[in-house]
Symmetry: C2
Subunit: 251 residues, 2 copies
């Protein structure tokens, strides 16, 4: 399915929800059975367990023991709920400003990666028109402050920021993709690749792919760790090299 995202909903309403500005206390009328926080928490729980595809309004309502349509009293729609979910889990990053600028950027990357690990459905949430809530904004401030401390020119800071942000979210997403698929399809990555052994037997052409063959013969793929370990170390390696490049470009 396509990436989930907030749409044309009233920005003012969505922002008020993101920053938890209650519309104002209601002196009369029926008492709410559920709150926005409860809805978001339940939605996150469902998505954590069964993926974003399983996070339907009906499923969340069931989780809370209320009717499906009751949710729409508190939340404009599914897209806005996903925005709330994303900003909420981004707040879990708990960023502590310690060390030099490089340490802080790596800290940011690690914390963000941890969010994706804990909430694999974040892979399916687009971040180009992000939820402008505290979770996202605090993160932006943190990286920008770190990059600004590096000595880059202001204009360069913004360019480097987009590059770092893209790398972190992209790498975290692909790192998490595998476990998300394992969870939703019930098949592990290793098992998936194992079932495709046929490919190497019946389709791989040594003459068409000399570089891959050479690397294979050189033992480049004789790794002990699991697939997940390989991806993780590549994540660290890539960020390191990216920061090396940024640092080197300043001189």
């Amino acid at each position: 399915m396509a990436a989930e995202r907030s749409g044309g909903g009233d920005p003012a309403r969505t922002l008020a929800l993101l920053w938890r500005r209650p519309p104002e206390p209601k002196p009369v009328g029926r008492k709410p059975k559920v709150s926005v926080d409860q809805i978001v928490t339940a939605a996150v729980a469902v998505a954590d367990r069964e993926g974003l595809g399983a996070m339907s309004m009906a499923r969340v309502a069931q989780e809370l023991g209320v009717g499906t349509m009751s949710l729409y009293t508190h939340v404009p729609g599914k897209a806005e709920l996903i925005d709330l979910m994303a900003d909420t889990v981004l707040q879990e990053r708990d960023l502590t400003p310690e060390g030099g600028w490089r340490e802080r950027v790596k800290h940011y990357a690690d914390r963000t990666r941890a969010v994706y690990q804990a909430h694999p459905w974040m892979r399916d949430v687009s971040m180009v028109r992000p939820p402008l809530g505290p979770g996202l904004m605090d993160g932006q401030e943190f990286v920008l402050a770190a990059l600004a401390d590096s000595g880059l020119e202001p204009r360069q800071v913004t360019v480097a920021h987009v590059a770092v942000e893209g790398f972190v979210h992209g790498a975290a997403a692909s790192e998490v993709d595998d476990q998300q698929l394992a969870a939703t399809t019930g098949e592990s990555g290793d098992s998936w690749w194992g079932a495709r052994q046929v490919f190497w037997d019946d389709y791989f052409d040594v003459e068409r792919y000399p570089a891959m063959t050479a690397l294979w013969n050189a033992g480049a793929y004789d790794t002990e760790g699991t697939l997940a370990d390989t991806i993780t170390s590549s994540f660290d390696y890539g960020l390191d090299k990216l920061l090396d490049g940024i640092e080197g470009g300043m001189r």
Copy 2:
């Protein structure tokens, strides 16, 4: 919606489709009204125009003037169709091995980016358990050959490969997200941000976000180009710095 992907379908069947190994000519029986190629082409056309979310089996069948269920004679299911679509558009890259290893990696990045530009729905296709077809494999061979020429150790080549691949696909995905959203929601990125002017007026806290405020005041965000231009130059910048880092790490 969650990322679309091929599932537990019979790998042998899917591989045969990807590499276009026809099951064997049928001497008797009713003549097919449509071919696999026609189905894939129609599906790509629909997804290009209306996004992967609109690419339903019914929609594709309608496009071809056949019944929905007829498609299932030629393709096991929707997941496998998406695999075929992805591998097909990846074949459009037309990679020419010219220049040094850096030029070739950048060439690969540019061609891959072009695929995402032409087919924004690729953002929604997971690449951790990729379609093992010619489109993907030829690309892998190309980058691996380039990286192997850089002088890195074989083990290092594979690590760098994952980092580069992650960056390229991640950056291309985020670069394309905006236009995909513009296409499916009918609202441009600039219009979207404009509607969120309220945020800066009512929610942005100068004291909470000093680094952002300082950058703003320093004119770091006074760019002439569009949002898309900014993202593109950050893409180039990021890849450059990543390759700088990889190159520097060899010495």
